[in-house]
């Protein structure tokens, strides 16, 4: 059995043995681990919930013979999740006394004021620097929307990014890449399940699906985690003890992507950022919603399996998956089931998942040309915010008559829900403004959403009905053919 966690920090392999080192527990976050070291105090805690980015670090992951760099919120990452990876903090950026280009740009452009958010920004900038040459303003904004700064008003940070990322991303990390790849390969050789058993926690990290399914069978009450961006909050915010955990994040089989004539299979362990990049060309509505999903740091962690698994009424991928008629593939050691998303979600954070099953993938069918889909997210702040209301619409219209329609809403009920009355009304009717206006009233009356910290019920209802008008307006009929504008 393998009972230690290994990763690269400061160009060295660090091994943590939880049975001996009682200072840390398996679910100690990378943030707390780093802050406990005397020489990595640059990383800061601003919220412990993934919403501020002060704790941003970069993860270096093996990608063939190269390393890919991703910014993540270290406050949400449990130590075993960085097994086999390199962790880079703000302290690692200087080289032989020289500032890294992203650091010198920030100094020169007045990118810091109080400096508390700065290490987090530097790490997001570092990942941007490694991944993009001459990024557009849009790419920079996307890379930085997971970092809050209360002092600067961001403009000078934006300038710093545009200034720093003008070259090909070369730096001392490029020089050391071969050396680090070697270290990471050495760690990743060993594919035996990591089992971390302490007096009040069992943490398993399997490396293949069979091992995972076996563990699932033997520990039916263990919490499955993938990105942990949902589960971690139970510890960091509610001080809950997470007893038994099966960590699926290292299973390659869950990260596959396949396209055939019928549709697309996405592994449940694909990060939402990976999914976003895949979908940009082929599944635009999914892409649109992923673009405003959390922040880059969150999307680098969070998975599609986790989003479906949470079964949250404000889970942002659910409406669009329902509109596509997507299915989840549920696998146990013995059998496999394909269940439509609508059937899979049983209630508020309740699913049809059996205690021996794991979501292995999601299937999104290809729709015929005539079906048009679009997604919308209404949130108080456009980026890094949870939906107040979200929706996905699918319609196909022939000779101006609605042949098929689906209107799935998030944030309007205890689960993601279709506006059935309005759907029924519109079906076989003319796709016209008059009819849409009637349907809007039906939507308004169909739901009784909550009033909460985000918005009052009335706002949700008005926004929900208006989204249909938005959809109507975003579609145009040209020569009897429906088109997205």
């Amino acid at each position: 059995m393998n009972n230690s966690v290994k990763f690269v920090l400061d160009d060295k392999i660090i091994e943590l043995d939880f049975s001996r080192d009682l200072k840390y527990k398996p679910t100690t976050t990378v943030l707390n681990y780093l802050r406990d070291l005397s020489d990595h105090k640059g990383v800061k805690e601003g919220c412990a919930e993934g919403d501020c980015g002060a704790c941003t670090v970069a993860l270096g992951e093996l990608d063939g013979n190269k390393i890919s760099y991703k910014a993540v919120d270290s406050c949400l990452v449990f130590l075993p999740m960085i097994h086999g990876k390199q962790i880079i903090t703000v302290e690692n950026l200087k080289n032989k006394g020289e500032l890294h280009p992203v650091q010198s740009a920030m100094v020169e452009c007045f990118g810091s004021q109080c400096g508390y958010c700065t290490p987090g920004f530097i790490m997001s900038l570092f990942a941007l620097y490694k991944n993009h040459n001459n990024p557009s303003k849009g790419i920079v904004e996307d890379a930085l929307s997971g970092n809050l700064c209360r002092c600067t008003g961001y403009q000078f940070i934006l300038y710093s990014a545009l200034m720093a990322c003008q070259n090909d991303g070369a730096d001392h990390f490029s020089e050391k890449e071969t050396q680090i790849v070697k270290l990471l390969k050495e760690i990743n050789k060993d594919k035996k399940t990591i089992s971390l058993i302490t007096n009040n926690q069992c943490y398993f990290k399997p490396f293949n699906l069979d091992d995972a399914l076996l563990l699932r069978k033997n520990y039916p009450d263990a919490i499955l985690i993938n990105g942990a961006s949902d589960i971690a909050l139970r510890q960091t915010k509610n001080n809950e003890l997470l007893k038994d955990i099966i960590d699926l994040s290292a299973i390659d089989e869950l990260k596959r992507f396949e396209e055939n004539d019928d549709g697309y299979y996405f592994g449940s362990g694909l990060s939402l950022e990976a999914l976003k990049n895949y979908s940009e060309k082929k599944l635009k509505p999914l892409y649109d919603i992923l673009k405003v999903f959390g922040s880059l740091q969150i999307r680098n962690l969070a998975t599609i399996g986790g989003n479906i698994g949470s079964a949250s009424p404000i889970g942002d991928t659910l409406p669009v998956l329902i509109a596509y008629g997507a299915k989840v593939i549920l696998q146990s050691a013995e059998s496999r089931r394909d269940v439509s998303i609508e059937e899979y979600i049983k209630g508020y954070r309740k699913t049809d998942l059996r205690k021996d099953e794991i979501i292995t993938s999601v299937f999104i069918p290809k729709l015929n040309e005539k079906s048009k889909i679009k997604t919308y997210k209404v949130s108080k702040r456009k980026d890094l915010d949870i939906s107040t209301v979200s929706s996905a619409f699918r319609v196909s219209v022939e000779n101006e008559i609605v042949k098929d329609i689906c209107m799935a809403y998030g944030g309007m009920a205890e689960i993601t829900k279709r506006a059935k009355t309005a759907e029924t009304y519109l079906l076989k009717k003319k796709w016209s403004r008059t009819n849409i206006e009637v349907a809007m009233e039906l939507i308004y009356n169909e739901f009784e959403p909550l009033s909460d910290a985000r918005a009052e019920s009335e706002f949700r209802r008005v926004a929900a009905k208006n989204l249909l008008m938005k959809f109507f307006n975003d579609l145009q009929i040209n020569n009897g053919i429906l088109k997205l504008v």
């Binding site: 919220c47 400096g115 600067t152 008003g153 108080k380 915010d385």
Partner: protein, 770 residues
């Protein structure tokens, strides 16, 4: 341009914040058990099990306070720890010192507190209804209001609600206390007001100020939220440190910070404005009602500043300003950037906006017509003359540079041809009074030490919280002594170096401390110049050098009349030392010729005014309430800037913070007074995607400010109020839905919810038959 003095440290992660300081192994973690009820009697507290938990070292209640149970800064009406009754959520009931945060939280779970809930006042409306005043109302008036209204062709009345705002400094409240010998205690506190923190620690511990040392190296953002609130955390930390005689650190968890600490005051304001056909205001009456929360704190000073800014930039002949602060069962509200100014300016700007819609004129025109004039009509309601009025210069330049007139036409065109997207634009000014309105606070101290090697250590009473104060102090020192920046260091602010300081607040940090440092340097320079004259007399034949001709420049000290007579700064320092010349001096500064009579509401409260103006254009999705700032042009007056990068940074940062307040920073409480938005999950400050798509910021050049440090102007707070350009541009876009024929419902913040519901209402009105 000189970079921020800590920029490299910030960017490398080497900058040490309090939570990063190495502390000995026996550090304990402090944890605050606070009230979960807005108003209740405490019937029973049982922590007998908690105190037995391994790793718990001390649990304190008010009974263990050795000194006075008080932490109100001016009025002593705020208990350090609750006795028998809680008057708001978040008040400290017990303090725990434990080996770790986890243990403290375990201990908390074992504590039982029984409450008997009492009736609570949770909104300003119910406070008004109950007339639960915190202190007698205040008034400023001029002219004849009644006649003013009688002479006005038109009158508009209304009420405006402006919301609270959470400071959301990235570094939550923190203090680290280290015990010394006997009574001594040293506190590293993230406080804007070290002297007050010192005094309050001394009071609660029942010791004297001489035994308390408070040090502030850098603060991770403050915005007023650490002016008095930091004292609370420090007092609690000191109590635990004193009880355990071990180092103790309290670092509030984000949610606790948001729940416990006060916010920007909510205001409910009523106004009535009388004007003529041209839109010129003849009479204005405004009642500013603030929710002070459960204690006085700085609420009266905040209300006062609000009243002093009720006019914003406009001359109003007949005016009456009433201010009332109400006591409620909310956490005591505190200072926040703008300090009441924004709440009052929102009202007059709303009035002007309504006048424009009423008269079907561009609001820019109404603003322009009502500006304070240069020669006449230049006296404020409280009697201070508006000197060095920059309003017209700013307006003229900005209208041109922003292409206002052409863009207004384009916006009208756009709105005509788009049903679901509407654009809006507004230009708004700010005139902000600089000085503490409590006049005696306008003083500062400094201590400058020159060492034998010619390097200089500067101490002053201000705190560095990102605003660049120390960067400016470095520049001032470097210019005054004529030496390079690398030879100078600004020390951590420490009460044992500079006593009795005022808070670093009211945008006055560099005005006051910069002058104090300059004065300290002048004392040393005077000694050195005398000495140099003597040296030159010994060394050179001919007429003696005059003291006033000695200049410090480029690392040399020389006679401007006879420049060959010169000596390097280093050599001079080492000679001076050998000749027993003191190389250290304190400096002191107080702002001259200011004073304000609160009773009469008259005087000259401000040393000068800072001005700024902004034009913002937004687009609103009228189906969802979503909005985006398309372009903002700002022209701001910082006098002769001490550092362009720093000052522009303050303008941008202040503007965006203001934008957050007027748009997404919505705060709600449930019916029991529990804060609903207690973390960034639901409390939404702007991200990088919320800044204007096209963002142009300029400082007004060529207009030095007389009688201030290097002719500069304070710049911390004023730009926040430029965000009204965004707020009113949104309203303009909403108004476009009804072709500007209906006055939209509007409040602050204008969340997507406020916007959408306002639009829906207009749509309904449009459908109604006329």
């Amino acid at each position: 341009m000189q970079e921020h003095e800590s920029a490299i440290l910030h960017c490398t992660g080497e900058a040490v914040f309090i939570n990063d300081m190495p502390v000995s192994e026996n550090l304990l973690i402090g944890h605050v058990i606070y009230s979960k009820h807005a108003h209740a009697k405490i019937l029973e507290i049982d922590f007998s099990d908690a105190v037995k938990l391994k790793g718990v070292h001390s649990i304190l209640s008010y009974k263990e306070i050795p000194g006075i149970n008080q932490m109100g800064p001016i009025i002593h009406d705020e208990l350090c720890m609750v006795e028998n009754e809680v008057t708001s959520i978040g008040q400290a009931i017990l303090l725990i010192a434990a080996d770790s945060k986890e243990i403290a939280i375990e201990a908390e779970k074992l504590i039982e507190i029984k409450y008997e809930p009492l009736e609570a006042i949770l909104s300003i409306e119910s406070a008004i209804e109950k007339y639960n005043l915190l202190a007698p109302k205040r008034k400023i008036e001029r002219g004849n209001l009644q006649k003013g209204f009688e002479d006005s062709a038109h009158i508009i009345e209304g009420t405006l609600k402006t919301g609270a705002q959470e400071h959301w400094y990235l570094e939550t409240q923190i203090c680290l206390c280290i015990p010394g010998e006997g009574n001594e205690i040293k506190a590293y506190s993230s406080t804007q007001h070290p002297s007050e923190t010192q005094a309050i620690i001394a009071e609660v511990l029942g010791i004297s100020s001489k035994d308390v040392e408070v040090e502030v190296k850098r603060i991770g953002g403050a915005f007023g939220g650490k002016e008095t609130e930091a004292n609370h955390i420090a007092a609690w930390c000191a109590l635990l440190c004193n009880a355990t005689k071990r180092p103790v650190k309290i670092h509030l968890f984000r949610d606790d910070d948001q729940i416990i600490t006060g916010k920007r005051h909510r205001f409910l304001s009523k106004y009535k404005v009388g004007f003529n056909d041209e839109g010129i205001i003849n009479a204005y009456s405004v009642e500013l009602n603030s929710d002070a929360g459960s204690a006085t704190d700085l609420s009266m000073a905040i209300l006062e500043r609000a009243m002093l800014h009720a006019d914003n930039s406009y001359f109003i002949p007949n005016i009456k300003i009433i201010g009332r602060a109400y006591k409620t069962n909310m956490p005591s509200n505190v200072a926040m950037r703008g300090f009441g100014g924004p709440q009052a300016i929102a009202v007059i700007e709303t009035a002007i906006d309504k006048i424009a819609r009423y008269l079907k004129m561009d609001s820019a025109e109404i603003r322009y017509k009502n500006f304070y004039k240069i020669e006449n009509n230049n006296i404020s309601p409280y009697g201070q003359c508006i000197e060095n009025n920059r309003l017209f210069i700013l307006f003229d330049k900005l209208i041109k540079s922003s292409d206002y007139i052409k863009r207004r036409e384009e916006i009208n065109e756009f709105n005509k041809s788009n049903e679901f997207y509407k654009k809006g634009m507004a230009i708004t000014p700010v005139k902000f009074g600089i000085s503490f309105t409590t006049s005696f606070l306008n003083q500062a101290g400094a201590l400058v030490n020159i060492y034998k090697d010619g390097t200089v250590l500067v101490n002053h009473g201000g705190t560095e919280m990102g605003q660049g104060l120390n960067t400016k102090i470095l520049k001032i020192t470097s210019k005054e002594l004529g030496i390079k920046l690398v030879k100078i260091k600004v020390n951590a602010t420490n009460t044992s170096k500079i006593p009795n300081t005022s808070a670093t607040a009211a945008s006055s940090g560099s005005d006051l401390n910069g002058m104090a440092v300059k004065n300290a340097i002048e004392t040393i320079k005077s000694r050195l110049s005398e000495f140099v004259v003597d040296e030159f007399r010994k060394k050179y034949e001919g007429i003696c050098s005059k003291k006033h001709n000695i200049k410090f420049e480029n690392n040399f000290v020389y006679d401007i009349k006879i420049p060959e007579r010169k000596i390097s700064f280093n050599e001079l320092i080492s000679n001076a030392y050998l000749n027993q010349i003191s190389l250290s001096s304190t400096g002191y500064y107080k702002t001259p010729n200011i004073g304000f009579d609160r009773e009469k509401g008259q005087g000259k409260p401000f040393h000068y005014f800072a001005y700024g103006m902004a034009v913002s254009e937004v687009i609103v999705d009228t189906l969802t309430g979503y909005n985006k700032i398309l372009r903002t042009d700002i022209l701001h007056d910082a006098g002769d800037t001490l550092n362009k990068g720093i000052d522009k940074g303050q303008v941008i940062g202040g503007f965006i913070q203001g934008t957050g307040w007027v748009t997404t920073e919505d705060i709600k409480w449930d019916s029991d007074g529990h804060l609903l938005n207690h973390s960034p999950d639901t409390y939404k400050i702007p991200t990088i995607q919320d800044i204007p798509e096209d963002f142009r910021i300029e400082l007004l050049e060529g207009y030095p400010n007389e009688n201030t440090i290097r002719k500069s102007k304070a710049v911390g707070e004023p730009p926040l109020m430029l965000a009204f350009s965004v707020w009113l541009a949104i309203k303009d876009a909403i108004s476009a839905v009804g072709n500007h024929e209906f006055e939209p419902d509007f409040s602050l913040p204008a969340t997507n919810e406020v916007i959408l519901l306002s639009i829906e209402k207009i749509r309904k009105l449009q459908k109604e038959p006329a």
